[in-house]
């Protein structure tokens, strides 16, 4: 079969086993510096996540990697090709799922996929097999002839993921893949993503502002205000903080805080009704606390740091606070909007 010439292994050029390489990538929109120089590498087969609040520059970065937006400075290679000089080759090798739907509501699921197959020049003889495969993976095979306008939000997102996979991309970009979906659908979609990684040696690059989603990633880059503030595995990031979170309920919170400060030189604060502080080796600290605090303790909870704590440590605020202050200024993908205005 001559038209099936590109073997899977060759999709990433032999010279590199890196799916994505970004070097000092920058993007300015007039005075706004959306992305202020980010550098990172993603290995083939990795699930790599960008974590950050809305407006942090995640979408803009992903748009540059997907050749939708030209960088103002810096360079990036995706699947071995430069995103500016080799735009077409990059596009052949990537699948995209945006945070806003890009399906045609007036077409059926099958028609949407067939449109995609034709646009991406998928060899005709593999289209039926491949369509069935991706639709079954997201449990939409039975509903393939339904008009997309009759689909729920979760079904649409699943269909988009199926479509993004149809042409067997080397890298699948998921921009906020589960935003606006209920928790059950979200965990469903994650099971597809993990299934996908198991079946097809595909690199998955995603952005999210959900902490629990970030846990699924092999590696995570934390983005805030257009820069990457940390990049590592979720475990290592949590480990880098080195401190456990301790939450206390006492008879007298105010006195407990004073005691902690005087006796242990620990700064604590009341957060969500509990005296909260961070110490290294929290579990070993508990017996000392009971012995020396001098305030009756009603309950105590020690937890390992979460990504929330990581985000807070690196940016000085929680992701929810960051969202509240940044607004939606850069959330809407500027590329589609700016086209008509310039």
């Amino acid at each position: 079969m001559t038209q099936l010439e590109t073997p899977a292994a060759a999709r990433v050029t032999a010279a590199t086993d890196l799916a994505v390489v970004a070097q000092d990538l920058k993007k300015n929109y007039k005075e706004i510096e959306a992305v202020r120089g980010v550098s990172f590498e993603v290995a083939t087969g990795e699930i790599f996540g960008f974590l950050g609040p809305n407006g942090a520059g995640k979408s803009t970065t992903i748009s540059m990697l997907c050749t939708l937006v030209n960088p103002s400075a810096g360079s990036a290679r995706v699947a071995g090709f430069d995103v500016v000089a080799d735009q077409a080759r990059v596009r052949q090798r990537i699948g995209l799922v945006f945070q806003d739907t890009t399906l045609d509501d007036y077409l059926t699921a099958s028609e949407n996929l067939r449109f995609h197959a034709e646009l991406y020049g998928v060899a005709r003889d593999v289209v039926p097999t491949r369509m069935r495969q991706v639709l079954e993976m997201v449990d939409l095979w039975e509903r393939r002839d339904g008009l997309v306008q009759t689909y729920s939000g979760g079904m649409k997102r699943r269909l988009e993921i199926a479509r993004g996979l149809l042409h067997s991309p080397a890298v699948l970009f998921l921009d906020e893949p589960t935003v606006g979906l209920d928790p059950q659908t979200r965990s469903h979609i994650w099971s597809y993503i993990q299934e996908l990684r198991r079946r097809e040696r595909i690199t998955i690059f995603l952005t999210t502002h959900y902490m629990d989603e970030a846990e699924y990633c092999d590696r995570l880059a934390i983005m805030d205000n257009g820069v990457l503030v940390a990049i590592d595995t979720p475990e290592a990031l949590k480990g880098s903080i080195g401190e456990d979170r301790v939450e206390l309920h006492t008879d007298d919170d105010q006195r407990a805080i004073e005691q902690l400060a005087q006796h242990f030189q620990i700064t604590a604060q009341v957060s969500e009704g509990a005296v909260t502080f961070h110490v290294p080796g929290g579990e070993q600290f508990v017996p000392r606390l009971f012995a020396e605090l001098g305030v009756p303790i009603r309950s105590i909870r020690v937890s390992r740091p979460t990504l929330d704590d990581v985000f807070m440590t690196y940016t000085g605020r929680t992701i929810r606070d960051a969202e509240a202050s940044s607004g939606d200024r850069l959330r809407a993908n500027p590329w589609m909007r700016s086209r008509g205005r310039r």
Binding site: L4, T6, V69, R89, L119, G121, T129, R130, R339, G340
Partner: protein
């Protein structure tokens, strides 16, 4: 979940001529699927020309003297064909704005194909839809005293195709610059209606005041409506003075433009606007 399966190796588009043709074909096909599925649109976009032809046309025929040689509706018929093509083409083209609003445009723009294939596919799709609508109107010829002559019908159909393509290209060119659906109203008021009224579709442009006559000559649609009318009138037997009033043709000074020249103008305009549209959609962000 099923066990791991063999993933078929998929060759994707790589700038071959065949890939571009497939992209072109599927963009065209999508226009037709959407047209077929939206029956309301077919009905509503035919309602307007039918109202013009049978209500406005009948009303005007009671006050405009054609010396009983033909009905005023017969005069309006080619104009109404032009109108059908005009509105359908522009509407098809403007659907790009909806595609942008609902995100589907992005699905097309990120594909590894040349942008010209998308723009050309859209223009051909819109032109096909507009020609189908025109053909439906053409079927009403007998009701307004136009004979069903096969040659005439074929010529009218071909002329409508060319016009439809030019107008869709014009619409796509505008759509590249329109960022929201509301602006569509502006386009209609600013371009479509003036083009329609100035083209001689609803009244003869012979005895117009100078300023209106100039505007009419500047209207590209004039050069598309006139060939339609000449074709229809060539199958009617009318004395020359009346023919001169109702089928005056377009002249630049003393020169009466031959039909082939008018169609050439339309074709050149179509190519020009297609070129601009492609260039607009090929700009990087």
């Amino acid at each position: 979940m099923a066990a791991a399966v063999d993933v078929p190796v998929v060759r994707v588009a790589g700038g071959r001529a065949g890939d571009d043709l497939r992209a072109l074909w599927v963009v065209w096909k999508r226009e037709l699927i959407r047209f077929r599925r939206n029956r309301m649109r077919i009905v509503t976009s035919l309602a307007q020309p039918v109202l013009f032809l049978f209500i406005l046309g009948t009303g005007l025929s009671t006050v405009i003297s054609t010396a009983d040689h033909f009905n005023f509706r017969t005069f309006m018929f080619p104009g109404v064909l032009g109108m059908t093509v005009l509105f359908t083409s522009i509407f098809s083209a403007i659907s790009i704005v909806w595609d942008r609003e609902f995100g589907f445009l992005r699905e097309m723009l990120v594909a590894p194909v040349h942008r010209w294939t998308l723009v050309l596919g859209k223009c051909l799709g819109g032109a096909t839809v507009a020609t189908i609508q025109g053909a439906i109107m053409l079927a009403l010829a007998g009701l307004v005293g136009v004979p069903y002559n096969p040659v005439m019908l074929l010529v009218l159909l071909l002329e409508m195709m060319l016009t439809a393509f030019a107008l869709t290209a014009f619409g796509v060119m505008l759509a590249a610059r329109i960022s929201d659906v509301q602006s569509f109203q502006v386009v209609t008021q600013l371009f479509v209606l003036p083009m329609f009224f100035l083209s001689g579709a609803v009244f003869p442009v012979t005895k117009l005041p100078v300023w209106l006559g100039i505007l009419s000559k500047l209207d590209p649609l004039s050069y598309a409506v006139d060939p339609l009318r000449k074709e229809v009138f060539s199958y009617l037997s009318i004395p020359p003075p009346i023919r001169h009033t109702f089928d005056p043709g377009v002249s630049w000074g003393a020169w009466h433009l031959p039909v082939i020249f008018e169609l050439g103008l339309v074709a050149i305009a179509a190519a020009l606007m297609l070129g601009i549209a492609i260039q607009q959609f090929s700009r990087p962000a």
